[in-house]
Amino acid sequence: MNSEARLELIDTKGLDRRILLKGIATFLGYPLLSTINGCTPSKSALPERLSAQTVGIEGVQKLWKPPPSVIELGREVINNHQVTPDIQALLKALSESSKRQKRTPVELAEAIRRLHHKAAKTGSWVEIKGWRLTTVEAAAYALSSFTLVN
């Protein structure tokens, strides 16, 4: 996957990107996003072009520094799996879910979790060096590691 393709796939279809990023982070389990302010001086977690287009996203990204293990796993996902369709499918499913499910990061995280459980049930899997991730998890990890693969 090249960086241009990655930019293209972040068509969030009406989702508030700040909430999306927070929602993914919350789903992946680092609650510091919503509770700690300005703890990391990390560079942008999303590609520049996207950041430039999105009002306020810088603020979110400054707080969003995924742990190295999450980034590494995301990188493995990107290197070993054609993850673009999974990301597109995740975003599409989220954009189609009811508004009530995506007002806050916590609600969005819950929506992602429901999709993750559904993917587990329907056998929608990605296998990364033998480790089984749902396509939803794989997409979330891939999104989390964008800064490092750019």
Partner: protein
């Protein structure tokens, strides 16, 4: 009584007469002997070995492996009083009702009898094996919170059940004094059976010829005969007896020795890293023995509905904690990365500093396969007693491969569905090969299988050899399918059932 034919030597050519002659002093043979003798039926039981293991006796079991890698045949069972109960681990579980049924996706599946006919004998079999109060597990899975700590994992498509564990009993030792005291039982040790003699009409057994090492030869004549020498020796004895039926006894359809089944064990393959939502796993530890519930070892098995939906063979999964994480990291790339990522899915403040990791013991059912077989050694190699030795060709099919793969995938899916962490599914994608560590469980089954008629089996639903009126077979060689449960409990249950049948025949003949 117990007679050592080596020291209490019979005359050359002496003939002993009895109502029932049991060939083999293992789990099935001794159970039938005890039951019949207690009911006043006169029995002679012929055991080739003595009271202890001897190299000379074990050598009789020597054979050749021609199929996939397997244990050396003379080391995979025991040839002395008590048979392989002298070395078994003690795990007991009944077959499931569905194991007896025909399953369209498993060729040659289906028994001529159902669970209704075997089920009533399981409780008694459990008593004999001293497993404690028997919980049938036939109709319901684990009695949550009643006998076990915690509720275990709630996994969709799976259920928690348990092996009930025998101490384990060594039946030759356990019942020795009792057998000595039983007037109607004559248990002859060091009595090697060398020939099964059919009547000239081939419709019934006439006698059994025996030989004592360095001693005389003698015969036993009986009204009924029971062959109970195990899944490799039963077909070998039948195939070696070719003086009346040139293809061997019961082998008119070339089925004797075919359908050899094991419980393929593929242990410690996949790795599971429990996540923060995982409940206590103390539930899956081997439980200590107690008077109330005996000793139990819980495991996970798929529901019958899951097996039907996926069209798989039966399988079980037992948890093994892996404490040497460094070693596991060498085997499982990304282990630490995945674990650290998984821990963030929950409360990172409560995450342990080192990963908890589990692998699985994975015994599974083998599909009946006519090409998986015991046969006589074509090179003409004979044992010390003059019988042709056996060859074993153990073959597994694509169905076992698919089951192995899907078993681990299904578990991974169920674990993820409950946020129970991550699993690395390693059984190979390549359906041409099995993992290197694939082995058997020392369970020899199916080689004189039950069938509806002689086209589908060697014995009928009672265990009687098709075409031979007074020859019965006992033991796991009559299993038509194997399930994934260890066989001893079912061997004993079937032996009790056959004993009932022989009692009724003996009453009719008195």
């Amino acid at each position: 009584m117990l007679i050592d034919m080596a020291s209490d030597s019979p005359r050359e050519g002496q003939i002993f007469r009895t109502q029932v002659c049991v060939i083999g002093g293992g789990a099935a043979g001794l159970t039938i002997t005890r039951e019949l003798a207690k009911a006043g039926v006169s029995v002679i039981t012929l055991e080739g070995g003595g009271l202890k293991e001897s190299k000379r006796s074990q050598e009789i079991y020597r054979g050749e492996n021609l199929g996939r890698k397997y244990f050396r045949l003379h080391r995979s069972r025991r040839r002395y009083l008590g048979g392989s109960t002298n070395c078994w681990a003690g795990l007991c579980a009944p077959l499931r009702p569905s194991d007896f049924e025909r399953r369209p996706w498993i060729p040659h599946s289906g028994w001529p009898i159902g669970i209704d006919e075997v089920g009533p004998y399981y409780e008694r079999a459990g008593e004999l094996l001293k497993i404690g109060p028997f919980h049938s597990q036939l109709d319901q899975p684990l009695p949550v919170g009643q006998w076990m700590k915690g509720s275990g994992l709630k996994l969709e498509g799976f259920e928690s059940v348990f092996f009930q564990m025998s101490p384990p009993v060594r039946l030759g030792k356990l019942w020795r004094e009792e057998l000595k005291a039983l007037k109607e039982a004559r248990v002859m040790i060091n009595a090697n059976v060398t020939h099964l003699q059919l009547e000239s009409s081939a419709e019934a057994m006439a006698s059994v010829t025996c030989k004592v090492f360095d001693g005389p030869q003698f015969k036993v004549e009986a009204q009924q005969f029971v062959l109970a020498c195990g899944g490799i020796e039963n077909p070998r004895m039948l195939l070696n007896a070719r003086d009346v039926m040139t293809q061997g006894i019961g082998n008119q359809r070339d089925l004797v020795g075919r359908y050899f089944m094991e419980h393929p064990h593929i242990d410690r393959e996949s790795l599971w890293l429990p996540g923060g939502a995982t409940p206590s796993l103390n539930h899956y530890r081997r439980q200590k023995r107690s008077k109330k519930r005996g000793r139990m070892w819980p495991y996970i098995r798929p529901s019958v509905e899951s097996l039907q939906r996926e069209e798989l063979l039966d399988f079980s999964l037992v948890l093994f904690r892996r404490k040497n994480i460094e070693r596991e990291e060498k085997k499982h790339p990304l282990l630490r990365v995945v674990w650290e990522s998984s821990e963030h899915l929950h409360d990172p403040t409560k995450a342990p500093k080192t990963p908890r990791a589990y692998t699985f013991g994975n015994p599974m059912e083998q599909a009946p396969n006519p090409d998986s077989r015991v046969a006589l050694n074509e090179s003409g190699e004979r044992d010390e007693l003059g019988l042709l030795t056996s060859t074993l060709t153990w073959r597994l099919s694509s169905l076992e491969k698919r089951t192995l793969r899907r078993a681990h995938e299904m578990l991974a899916e169920s674990l993820a569905g409950q946020d129970y962490g991550r699993m690395r599914v390693t059984p190979t994608h390549n359906l041409d090969t099995f993992p290197r560590q694939t082995k058997g469980g020392y369970h020899h089954m199916g080689t004189t299988r039950m069938g509806i008629d002689e086209r589908t089996g060697v014995v009928d639903g009672e265990g009687k050899v098709f075409g031979v009126n007074n020859l019965f077979i006992a033991g796991s060689s009559v299993f038509a399918t194997s399930g994934s449960a260890n066989p001893t409990l079912t061997i004993i249950a079937l032996a009790l059932r056959l004993a009932e049948h022989l009692k009724s025949l003996s009453r009719g003949q008195k």
